[in-house]
Each structure stands twice: as structure tokens, then as C-alpha cells.
């Protein structure tokens, strides 16, 4: 990918994220029928690790931390991690060592285990 194309991609991505944040501030996913539904939850009836993300983001944008924790506690805790990983991904060529540390096998496997465990545990609590 050329440099300008990469920049354009990043600009489009940031614009989309801001648009989604505004959308989720206005719309309450718990009330709206147009909010995307979780496939796993509809098919199996179990809560997947990401179920409640939209409601969590809506609650967080309205400053309701308790509700955000209630809807998806793991994702709430993971938001800073995701932010760090996004920064590392954006600066991959400029800071290759930082990227290699953030994306080391331990981190990836650890995150995968946390997500899977959360998917299991949240169905029992």
C-alpha cells in the first residue's frame, strides 16, 4: 500500500469511528430494532464474549460506568489495551520493536484466553 493510500485509509477509519460513536450516543441499542444482533446469541442462546458491547458503549458515552460494567465488564477493561494495540498497529513501521513487544505471542495468547474465559464465565454468573 502506498503512503497516501495508507493515510487515506486511516482518515476514513477515524471518520467512521467518530460517526459510530455519535450514532451510539444518540441510539440506545437496547431499544433500537436496527442495532445489529449477535449471531451466536441468537443461534445458541449463550452470551458470547462480545455480547452487550453496543449497550456498553452507549452507557459509557453517557457516563454511566456502572451500567457499562454491567453490560460487558471485560470489554470495558480491555478498552485501554485495544487503544494501545491500535496505536502500535498504526506505528508498526516506525516503531517495530514496540509493535513486536505488544504483539508478542504471550500477549496474543493471553488475550485470547481472557476472551474465551470471559465467554464461559459470563454465562454462569
Amino acid at each position: 500500500m502506498t503512503r497516501s493510500a495508507s493515510t487515506a485509509f486511516k482518515v476514513i477509519g477515524i471518520t467512521c469511528v467518530i460517526a459510530l460513536l455519535i450514532l451510539y450516543f444518540i441510539i440506545d441499542p437496547a431499544e433500537s430494532r436496527f442495532a445489529p444482533k449477535c449471531m451466536v446469541h441468537l443461534v445458541t442462546g449463550w452470551e458470547c464474549p462480545g455480547c452487550g458491547s453496543q449497550r456498553m458503549i452507549h452507557a459509557l458515552l453517557h457516563g454511566d460506568l456502572a451500567a457499562a460494567w454491567h453490560f460487558n465488564a471485560m470489554l470495558l477493561c480491555m478498552l485501554p489495551v485495544v487503544a494501545v494495540m491500535l496505536v502500535a498497529a498504526a506505528l508498526r513501521t516506525r516503531m517495530p520493536k514496540f509493535y513486536a513487544i505488544v504483539n508478542s505471542v504471550y500477549v496474543i495468547v493471553g488475550l485470547a484466553i481472557i476472551i474465551m474465559l470471559w465467554g464461559v464465565v459470563r454465562n454462569f454468573i
Binding site: 513486536a100 504483539n103 505471542v105 488475550l111
Partner: protein
């Protein structure tokens, strides 16, 4: 002035006690051990100090990576693991395809650290493919489900 100068010269006895006669006398009076050999030589004024010469800087020792950080490929950084996108695709779009993407993401990292750069690149491409599969599956599912749910009574 002239008389004073000669007086000093007369008092300064160099013949008997050497050049440090006066000092020795005072040291004896004060009870200090006096050894002329210990007196540092005055700096020689006639020698010009060496002009500062340009010296090449000694080569700095290379920055040591911590032991747990494996060697970096000299030709480039780690291929993108798409780890964030794998996680986002897993929890927001389609769980099964997302898990496959996470497995490939970890494979990128482990292969790169094992110096299998070609394998890391391939795993990176597969991770990307599975992320796209996951997102597209989620979008298609919701595109099919939405009209259905609007028809159903709530």
C-alpha cells in the same frame, strides 16, 4: 628598592640547606615533616598546551535488547498480526471465524520470533482473510436477520 632586593638575596641561603632552606626552617619550627621530593613540580610555562585534536568518537556499544525480546528481522518489522482486528471481529462480528483469525495472528508472531519470516507473512495474510470473513459473515447475518425481525411481532 635596590637595597631591599640585595637583603633578601643575602638572607636566602642556598648553599647549605638547598633550595628549600627557608621552607625547611619554618617546617622545623612548626614541627611539620618536610620532604622536598614531595613538592609537585610547577607547570612548565614554555610548553604550549596541545591543541585539541579531532578524535573520532569511540563506537557506541549496540543497545542490547532485553533477553525476552527475540531478534528483529534486519530487513523489516514484523508483518501485521492484525491482532486488534481479530479481537474486534471476534467479539463484535462472528465468533468462530474470529477465533481462527486470532490463531493466525498468534501464528504470525510466533513464526516471526522463530525467524520463519516467510511463514509469518503467509499467516498474516490468512489472518487478514479470516478477519474479512468474520466481518462479512456478521454483516450478511444481520442483513438477513433485520428484515425478518422487523416482520416478527415484538
Amino acid at each position: 628598592m635596590d637595597t631591599d632586593k640585595t637583603k633578601i638575596d643575602e638572607n636566602y641561603d642556598t648553599s647549605e640547606k638547598g633550595n628549600y632552606g627557608v621552607e625547611k626552617e619554618w617546617a622545623d619550627r612548626l614541627g611539620i615533616d618536610f620532604d622536598p621530593a614531595k613538592i609537585p613540580e610547577p607547570p612548565r610555562q614554555d610548553v604550549q598546551p596541545e591543541p585539541p585534536q579531532f578524535r573520532p568518537e569511540p563506537p557506541k556499544p549496540p543497545v542490547q535488547d532485553p533477553a525476552w525480546l527475540p531478534p528483529m528481522h534486519p530487513n523489516g518489522p514484523m508483518p501485521p498480526t492484525y491482532m486488534v482486528w481479530s479481537i474486534i471481529a471476534t467479539i463484535l462480528c462472528c465468533l468462530p471465524a474470529g477465533i481462527v483469525a486470532i490463531v493466525y495472528s498468534s501464528s504470525v508472531s510466533s513464526r516471526y520470533y522463530a525467524r520463519d519470516y516467510e511463514g509469518a507473512r503467509r499467516a498474516s495474510e490468512r489472518a487478514e482473510i479470516w478477519i474479512i470473513v468474520s466481518i462479512v459473515t456478521g454483516i450478511i447475518f444481520n442483513a438477513l436477520y433485520l428484515p425478518l425481525s422487523l416482520l416478527l411481532p415484538q
